[in-house]
């Protein structure tokens, strides 16, 4: 058995090398397929992280009245934290709010002048609420709106809830995120199907060229395993070669997309995502290449082995 396998592997390597032009085109097509599969996966995963970041930016700010006491505020905070939809509640004190405001507008001289003009701290304390899911903001906002759920004491200190201001934006974002996820899944499925079909057909063509050879091997007394083996090994080699080329290509391409994606999300860029997840991407690309090559070869040879008798 070992001798047979050794011969099959050797024959696979020799065929791969000697059928230079056929191997070249098979590797070329497989590279395109893997590149399509890889970049769709990479971009969807990257899009996922990007969307997550955007989701994080959505929140509800509860502006509290100027005269709200610390205990009232903390009481409201703990009530909000008790809600199942709420992920976090951050308490921003009046002083902190002023500080943040100054930092945010540090380049705007007029605002500073206006602030000095007013004197004191015109800003109020804020409770910043983040929901577990984007769709839950509505519920939280309703909770804040309904006086029955909140004690009179608590509701009296709520000056303004900015949910309604952001409502349209939040809802749009919500549907955008859902849409992007759905569209991403559809695109992935279509692209992967196309690449698999093209690869399969190319390899089938490569083996079609060798059909007479297969016939001769059968006549000389070659068993199915012995005839099929080298072709499957060749298919695996196509996969490995194409996988390596794809991974090498990914570097400059994601480098090129680096600036675009960086400005889009402000933070994560596609290159650092690629480098951070390299091991995972490496295995996905290599294994899909090997599987595509081997399975295509196996199926393509199969038809020349079954129809005779």
């Amino acid at each position: 058995m070992w001798m047979t396998n050794k011969r099959i592997i050797k024959a696979g390597f020799v065929n791969f090398w000697r059928n230079g032009s056929v191997s070249f085109s098979a590797v070329f097509v497989l590279t395109i397929a893997l590149f399509v599969i890889g970049s769709t996966l990479l971009f969807t995963a990257f899009l996922g992280t990007g969307l997550k970041e955007l989701e994080d930016k959505i929140d509800i700010n509860i502006y509290l009245s100027q005269d709200a006491t610390e205990t009232q505020i903390l009481d409201l905070k703990s009530k909000l934290e008790g809600l199942p939809e709420v992920k976090t509640v951050t308490y921003v004190t009046k002083d902190q709010a002023l500080e943040d405001f100054r930092i945010r507008h540090k380049d705007n001289q007029y605002i500073f002048q206006a602030l000095d003009e007013v004197g004191g701290n015109p800003l109020t304390a804020v409770l910043n609420v983040k929901a577990k899911q984007v769709s839950q903001y509505e519920g939280i906002s309703n909770f804040l709106g309904s006086k029955t759920d909140l004690s009179a004491e608590s509701s009296s200190i709520v000056n303004k809830v900015n949910y309604n201001d952001n409502k349209v934006a939040i809802e749009r974002m919500n549907s955008l995120i859902a849409g992007a996820k759905q569209l991403g899944a559809i695109i992935i499925i279509i692209l992967v199907c196309i690449s698999v079909l093209i690869t399969f057909n190319t390899i089938r063509l490569a083996i079609f060229i060798a059909r007479d050879e297969i016939k001769v091997m059968r006549l000389v007394g070659g068993g199915n395993y012995f005839i099929r083996g080298p072709f499957v090994v060749e298919g695996i080699l196509y996969g490995i070669a194409a996988g390596i080329i794809t991974l090498i290509l990914f570097y400059p391409v994601s480098y090129w997309f680096k600036t675009i994606t960086q400005s889009f999300y402000g933070g994560v860029d596609v290159l650092s995502y690629f480098l951070a997840n390299f091991v995972q991407i490496f295995f996905i690309i290599m294994l899909s290449g090997i599987a595509l090559g081997a399975v295509s070869s196996y199926l393509a040879v199969h038809r020349y082995l079954v129809d005779a008798r």
Binding site: N15, V216, F226, R309
Partner: protein, 226 residues
């Protein structure tokens, strides 16, 4: 050794290729099958290799009904038969050495046996100096000698030569026939199909003549007569 018992073969399109053929071939015989194109010679060969199933009748090889050989045992069975074709059918990606070695590899021979036997048979067909050439670098006569080397390297019980000289000039034809004769002298049964009159007459061995799928003559030291 080989027995065709009232064998008929009708192809799905209605062509009757072989019609009620009965004959036996003894061990170590040299038999020429002659006849016009389409007389059914090649079909007989294919039946013998298990590539085709007879429509009726049985083909047996050493008392084994070839029709009943299981699909997975066919490779093993074919290793007992060496085949030579008019169009050589070598594997273009493999060198002369590898083409011959391939037949031994499929038969499960060890590397030592292969490296001992292959040069030996290539010497027998006078191709030692072309051992590492690819088929495309050889002439027709040389290609056929490679095919013969491949056919005999596993010491088969039977050599089937289907028009082996069909594509060759007279000098190469003579050489190939001499090699086949030598193989037969060394104890291997040979079945040769041909329409070359000169070849048949020079051999002076048994001749089975076929026409329209039937055996019309079977001469022990025959002449080519049609």
């Amino acid at each position: 050794m080989i027995y065709f018992d009232n064998v008929s073969k009708t192809y799905p399109d209605g062509t009757v290729a072989v019609d009620g053929v009965t004959f036996a071939i003894e061990e170590n015989e040299f038999v020429s099958l002659v006849g016009h194109s389409g007389a059914g010679k090649t079909t007989l060969m294919r039946l013998l290799l298990g590539e085709e199933q007879p429509t009726s009748g049985t083909v047996s090889f050493d008392s084994v009904d070839i029709q009943k050989v299981k699909k997975r045992d066919l490779p093993k069975f074919r290793q007992r038969v060496g085949v030579i074709f008019q169009d050589f059918r070598l594997i273009p990606q493999k060198t002369v050495y590898e083409n011959v070695a391939f037949a031994m590899e499929v038969a499960g021979k060890t590397e030592e046996e292969i490296s001992a036997d292959v040069p030996h048979v290539l010497e027998l067909v006078d191709l030692t100096n072309k051992m590492w050439n690819f088929p495309r670098q050889l002439s027709g006569g040389e290609l056929q000698r490679v095919a013969i080397a491949r056919a005999i390297v596993n010491h088969p019980d039977l050599i089937l030569a289907d028009e082996p000289t069909g594509n060759l000039d007279p000098v190469n034809t003579y050489e190939i026939i001499q090699i086949l004769k030598k193989i037969n002298d060394l104890g291997t049964t040979v079945i040769l199909t041909t329409h070359n009159k000169g070849v048949v007459e020079a051999l002076g061995k048994r001749v089975i003549t076929m026409d329209h799928g039937k055996v019309i003559r079977d001469d022990p030291t025959g002449k080519y007569a049609l």
